[in-house]
């Protein structure tokens, strides 16, 4: 197993280099540059040129790239042009809200979507099945921010049950405030994710219910509930977990919007502001960070397969 993990981690390096090169070139080849934004309203052309010089933006692209990669090797993602803070500290300050939001969303989604999908598969063709499918298709079709606004307007303004916005860290402010502030963003973000997982669970459980060993279980006189849980669902676990992995990439898009609607100081907003202000180091650093996290999640998911399916050995 260890040999496999090492090999997988080594394999991520070429992928990360591809991602880094792709993002770096994409930024450099586009119009708009941070120096002029910094120089502000009535800076003369030489002011802008001097700032470009000072930020090292005039050096040939290759030189800039090698410098960045060298820095990368020692874990230095570069310094933000605007705030003059290292990108790593910026990420550290704002990683907690994004990670917590993603975790609560995944947990909430799995707790809702997997049972929904299983029941839909079990009662395939019934009204429950159709209802789950319509909900899951609807879930795909509603833009996240519209849902966010509606929830805020109804629950926070009219009913005043939950706060409008903000994020409370569980460690600093206690679990109560953390939950109060995370419920609505989690629900908003989960809708599209639940739609995806419910649909996939239904498909995999339905496929498993055709398998011979399910017929054997029934032939043993096993109750439908037990057949569903200990036989069908356990065998459908691997495809479901795979979809959760893929879904997480979908989540990051939603996180950016949810953080902006609920004013959560997370990584999503950080990269968004950076892109609009052309803060190259942050953009590069964060996209690299997100793709590394995504690759890590996929590795963890692949390893989790061994828990669900004894046939898979690394």
């Amino acid at each position: 197993m260890l040999g496999y993990v090492i090999r997988r981690v080594l394999a991520t390096i070429p992928v990360m280099v591809i991602v880094a090169a792709f993002v770096f070139l994409m930024l450099r080849l586009s119009p708009g540059d941070p120096a002029s934004v910094i120089a502000g309203d009535y800076a003369t052309a030489e002011d802008i040129a001097r700032i470009r010089e000072q930020l090292g933006l005039n050096e040939p692209i290759l030189v800039q790239f090698t410098k960045w990669i060298a820095g990368l090797a020692q874990g230095d993602l570069g310094t933000s042009i605007f705030t003059n803070l290292p990108v790593t500290t910026l990420i550290a300050q704002r990683i907690e809200p994004t990670i917590m939001l993603t975790l609560t969303t995944i947990i909430f989604t799995v707790l809702v979507a997997v049972p929904l999908g299983t029941i839909a598969a079990w009662k395939a063709g019934s009204w429950i099945d159709r209802a789950v499918m319509v909900f899951s298709v609807a879930g795909f079709s509603v833009p996240v921010f519209v849902l966010g606004y509606i929830l805020i307007y109804v629950i926070s303004i009219q009913l005043q049950w939950l706060p409008v916005q903000g994020y409370r860290s569980m460690f600093e402010h206690g679990v109560g405030p953390f939950l109060r502030h995370i419920i609505m963003p989690t629900v908003t973000l989960s809708v599209i994710f639940i739609a995806l997982i419910a649909r996939m669970t239904r498909a995999s459980v339905m496929e498993v219910l055709q398998e011979d060993y399910v017929r054997t279980a029934r032939a043993k006189g096993q109750s439908e509930m037990k057949v569903l849980l200990s036989h069908a669902l356990r065998n459908a676990a691997v495809p479901i977990v795979t979809v959760i992995g893929i879904g997480i990439a979908l989540l990051i898009g939603g996180v950016v919007v949810t953080e902006s609607v609920y004013n959560i100081p997370g990584l999503g907003r950080l990269v968004l502001d950076a892109v609009l202000a052309r803060d190259y180091p942050i953009i590069q650093g964060l996209i690299l960070f997100f793709s590394f996290i995504y690759i890590l999640i996929n590795l963890v998911i692949d390893l989790s397969y061994t828990l669900f399916d004894p046939r898979i050995r690394y």
């Binding site: 708009g32 499918m133 509603v142 898009g253 950016v256 919007v257 892109v275 953009i283 793709s291």
Partner: protein, 295 residues
Amino acid sequence: MSVDANPQVAEPETVPAKAELSQWAIIRSHPSIIIGGILLGIMILVGVIGPLFTADPIALNPIKRLKPPQGEFLFGTDFLGRDVFARVVHGARISLVVGLAVSGIAVFIGLIVGMISGYIRVLDAIIMRIMDGLMSIPAILLAIALISLSGATLTTVVIAIVVPEVPRVVRLVRSVVLTVREEPYVEAAIAAGTKLPLILYRHILPNTIAPMIVQATYICGSAMLTESILGFLGAGIPPEIPSWGNIMAEGRTYFQLSPWIIFYPGIALAVTVLSVNILGDGLRDTLDPRIARKM
């Protein structure tokens, strides 16, 4: 052991023309295709001929700004006094173009790369690593970065949304190709001396089309949604060209004051994406249940 009837002598067995289940009968048996198809048809109709019947979506009359929906303005007006109904109808055209263009390009590229990767094992490892790389970049961030950095035109928006979709299509095509190439009829064709390109064209491609069509419908739906999110984040298509995404984005500030600016394009988008997804579900069950179900 000899069986009396010697096939040469006996009159050749005629093959009963088993009723070839017409494609139409299959479709009729799946309501979701009909519902999805009709809804999508209406939206395409609105997108194509609608604009001829509405006011000019770009005409400003600031005096009549933020009027609620009644009388002359079916969907009310936005903060510049533009007719929201006209903009939603025009928006249909852009959003559908984005949806169809993205799914078309993604499936086209995905098919080619997927087949190469699935059939030519040597290239497979390299292609897959590149796909992993592309897939690991979060789609929305890539789109935002690409668009805001290289100018927000329709083409850049389409490219920005296509890039993260291609790897998913490549993975699907590759898995289908890997199963199809093991089939005996492919081996028979090889034994009969058929060259590689012909094998890909005659035997591999037709069997990947069905899952591709289904995947295309899902991509079309998610592309329209991504466009609206990009518009909302301020990195989408330029507002002068109305698309549902940026109508809603511009209406964002006035949500509690005049919610109709967001409400109507939101409904239009939801219905269109809904119709595309329902159509996709219906097609998946009819076209090729065996492979498609793995989707």
